[in-house]
């Protein structure tokens, strides 16, 4: 035990000696949470739209004003002919063109209905869906307003909505938990895999292996400092998201910290596994960054909900540990639910940790060759 503690102390000295790494280690997660809490969002704001108004009457004028003053859209240009549509969409600043047919207002009152068309730039599907949905919603509002005017009828069934968990529809309710999950797994896996392969690449691993320390102790000694540092990191991030974004932990803080420990442990053992299969640092970094970054962003449900994916991805994403931690952290932080709701995810994470450790032990070579 004394030997082991000495080894852990040596590892700590290694880390603290290099103040640059230390700054980066703490600065990066904090900076990223700050940046993404403010920057990344899916809400529509000031999207460029152009109008092709062939009717130019009172109704089209009112509707144009309503769309432009909604805050979601910004008028980029007023077109005069159909041929301009392609030209302006190709420039990319305009996301959609709204076309009012000739005699738009007259048809509306003479026939009781008329059609406006929205031509959206489909090369950006997210944007196109958002834009058309918002324009449809604004037009519906417009219809209702017009109907309420004297002489009109009322609409029959209307729904009231309650936005649960996030009443003001803020983007960081989704992005803060996502970024924590993403950063923790990548940083933990990177750190452990690199620190172990570094010893291998420089040949100092051989020195350690002939020392009286047992291989398990070596690995544990390497991982312990990072475990402690990562845990402090989680606390820093949670404090930041509370003070900066007003995102307090609604559920039990102890539970959240315990789950974070499990997640860190899982990420560290993943890092150990990566280090056992790679011989150089370059390789370890390649696996844990190029190999893991995109799948973690895309298949964890961080940005794209898993329910919307083709069914087979339910299974593909089942092997992605971040998927479970995102659920856990959202449940505890935002919904405030207890262990009863997340025991399944917790078990899966624990199971994954065990599998990673078992595979690492099997792959770990204690002999020189």
């Amino acid at each position: 035990m004394k030997r082991f503690l000495g080894f852990v102390k040596k590892e700590f000295l290694h880390i603290f000696r290099d103040y640059r790494t230390l700054i980066i280690l703490f600065g990066i997660p904090a900076a990223q949470i700050m940046i993404f809490g403010y920057v990344v969002s899916n809400d529509l704001k000031d999207a460029g739209v152009a109008f092709l108004d062939l009717s130019r009457d009172e109704v089209t004028q009112k509707l144009t004003d309503k769309i432009c003053s909604s805050g979601f859209f910004r008028l980029t240009e007023t077109l005069t002919s159909y041929n301009d549509i392609d030209k302006i969409l190709k420039k990319g600043k305009t996301k959609a063109v709204i076309v009012f047919q000739k005699d738009f207002g007259r048809d509306l009152f003479a026939e009781g209905k008329t059609t406006m068309s929205v031509i959206a730039d489909g090369s950006e599907p997210n944007m196109a869906t958002l834009v058309t949905n918002y324009i449809t919603a604004i037009t519906t509002d417009f219809n209702i307003e017009q109907a309420r005017a004297p002489g009109g009828a009322v609409s029959l069934i209307s729904a009231q909505v309650r936005m649960f968990y996030n009443p003001s529809l803020q983007g960081h309710y989704m992005f803060v938990p996502g970024v924590i999950t993403l950063i923790m797994i990548l940083i933990c896996a990177l750190m452990t895999s690199v620190t172990i392969t570094r010893e291998k690449e420089f040949g100092t691993m051989e020195v350690l292996l002939v020392s009286p320390l047992r291989p398990t102790q070596i690995i544990l000694g390497k991982v312990t400092p990072y475990f402690i540092l990562s845990f402090i990191n989680v606390i820093v991030i949670l404090l930041l998201s509370w003070f900066v974004f007003g995102l307090p932990v609604k559920g039990s803080l102890v539970l959240l910290l315990a789950e974070s420990m499990l997640y860190i442990l899982m990420s560290l053992s993943l890092g150990i596994l990566i280090s056992t299969v790679s011989s150089t640092m370059q390789q370890a970094i390649f696996i844990s960054m190029v190999g893991m970054m995109l799948p973690t962003i895309l298949l964890s449900g961080f940005i794209y909900p898993i329910e919307n994916m083709p069914w087979i991805y339910n299974w593909v994403s089942a092997i992605m540990p971040p998927r479970y931690f995102i659920i856990i952290i959202k449940d505890i932080m935002i919904k405030g639910t207890g262990f009863a709701y997340i025991w399944k995810e917790t078990l899966i994470l624990a199971f994954m940790t065990m599998v990673f450790i078992w595979l690492s032990i099997r792959n770990f070579r204690i002999r020189l060759h």
Partner: protein
């Protein structure tokens, strides 16, 4: 010139000497592209629905079957207690709880507006808004049907209605893979070039071999060029492979000019590699470089406009994005591949990329010192 060629040859030998890296630089992008592209979609389907029907009249059932019949909603649970519905939402079993109050059927029959209550899981604010929009769409149609079925029973004349028809140009069915193939390819090529080029440089420093180069007559710019060229070539090959596979597997249309796309990609890669070499001059060990690289990559990628719209970012972030090469290449790829934009449509983006590429490379050469 011959010196550069020799140096480039040396780099290639060193890259491919590691069997894993040699295979992974071509294998990983291809595999990830094939797996990840079909997964990504913002299209909402099967929004799981929980109904609390306290009314149990033909009217309420009509509304429910209307919702169930639409492609967006999937009717999963039915319950009579609000707390149970709440529990289902807590357990992620449903996203939308719809409560139909007692008296709903009677009211609608009598011409009094019927009110229903929708609760949406809004942690993901954008899907919540879409869910709400879809629900409103279904209700709108349902209302229109009622009006059509009982003409005359309602007061006043018909309400004038403006309908909206949507058309999507360049990608009529809003196929996400057409949008994601260029995007994911761009990210993978960025990641590979950025990380490997930077690591390569720092590795020489860490092991000490850079000092051996420093004492040779190799000039600074020659050394930097020889560090960039191999990854430029690898990146372009990756891109070409990816485009061919994208065309084969995902049937991505290719509207614009291939030459233009590769011209832009070359400038983009030079910018990325220049940046990688620039920050590698600040790092003493591969570990340090890796952290800085991780930081920059995540920012470049999440701010590139591929996963979330650029327009949704605050103004200052959009200005920061002016130096983000990934944001430019995402836009250019999309415009050239899907819209067939010509060089004059994207000339501003190209010039900005050139400016970024030149300045990053210049700083990299400038910062690199041939002294120990």
């Amino acid at each position: 010139m011959r010196t550069i060629l020799y140096l480039i040859r040396k780099e290639f030998l060193q890259i491919f000497r590691n069997k894993f890296i040699g295979r992974a630089i071509f294998g990983v992008p291809i595999i990830q592209m094939l797996i990840l592209v079909p997964a990504v979609t913002f299209e909402m389907k099967n929004i799981s629905l929980c109904i609390v029907d306290k009314d149990m009249t033909p009217e309420s059932r009509g509304l429910i079957s209307r919702l169930d019949g639409s492609t967006f909603f999937h009717y999963r649970y039915t319950t009579f207690s609000e707390s149970q519905a709440r529990q289902l939402m807590n357990a992620n079993k449903c996203t939308l709880v719809l409560e139909i109050p007692r008296g709903f059927g009677k009211d609608t029959g009598n011409g009094i507006p019927g009110r229903i209550m929708a609760s949406i899981n809004a942690i993901n604010s954008s899907t919540a808004q879409l869910t709400w929009a879809y629900l409103n769409g279904v209700l709108r149609d349902y209302n229109a049907d009622i009006i059509r079925q009982n003409p005359g029973s309602l007061s006043g004349q018909p309400v004038p209605i403006i309908q909206v028809t949507n058309r999507y140009w360049y990608n009529e069915k809003l196929v996400y893979s057409h949008y994601m193939v260029p995007g994911i390819l761009g990210i993978l090529v960025t990641a590979i070039g950025f990380i490997l080029a930077g690591l390569n440089m720092v590795r020489e420093k860490e092991i000490g071999t850079i000092e051996q180069i420093n004492v040779t007559p190799v000039r600074k710019y020659q050394f930097i060029i020889s560090k960039m060229a191999p990854f430029l070539i690898i990146g372009l090959i990756d891109l070409a492979l990816g485009m061919v596979l994208g065309k084969l597997f995902f049937k991505v249309p290719f509207e614009g000019s291939v030459a233009l796309l590769f011209l832009c990609s070359t400038i983009f890669l030079i910018a990325i590699l220049g940046f990688a070499l620039f920050i590698s001059t600040f790092a003493g060990t591969q570990q340090q470089f890796m952290f800085i690289a991780f930081f920059c990559m995540i920012i470049f990628i999440l701010m590139s406009g591929i996963f979330t719209p650029l327009e949704s970012m605050p103004g200052w972030a959009q200005r920061v994005d002016l130096v983000n090469p990934v944001a430019y290449i995402m836009r250019i790829n999309r415009m050239v591949i899907l819209k067939g934009s010509t060089i004059s449509d994207i000339s501003r983006d190209i010039w900005s990329l050139v400016a970024i590429a030149v300045s990053f490379t210049f700083f990299a050469v400038k910062r690199y010192r041939k002294t120990a």
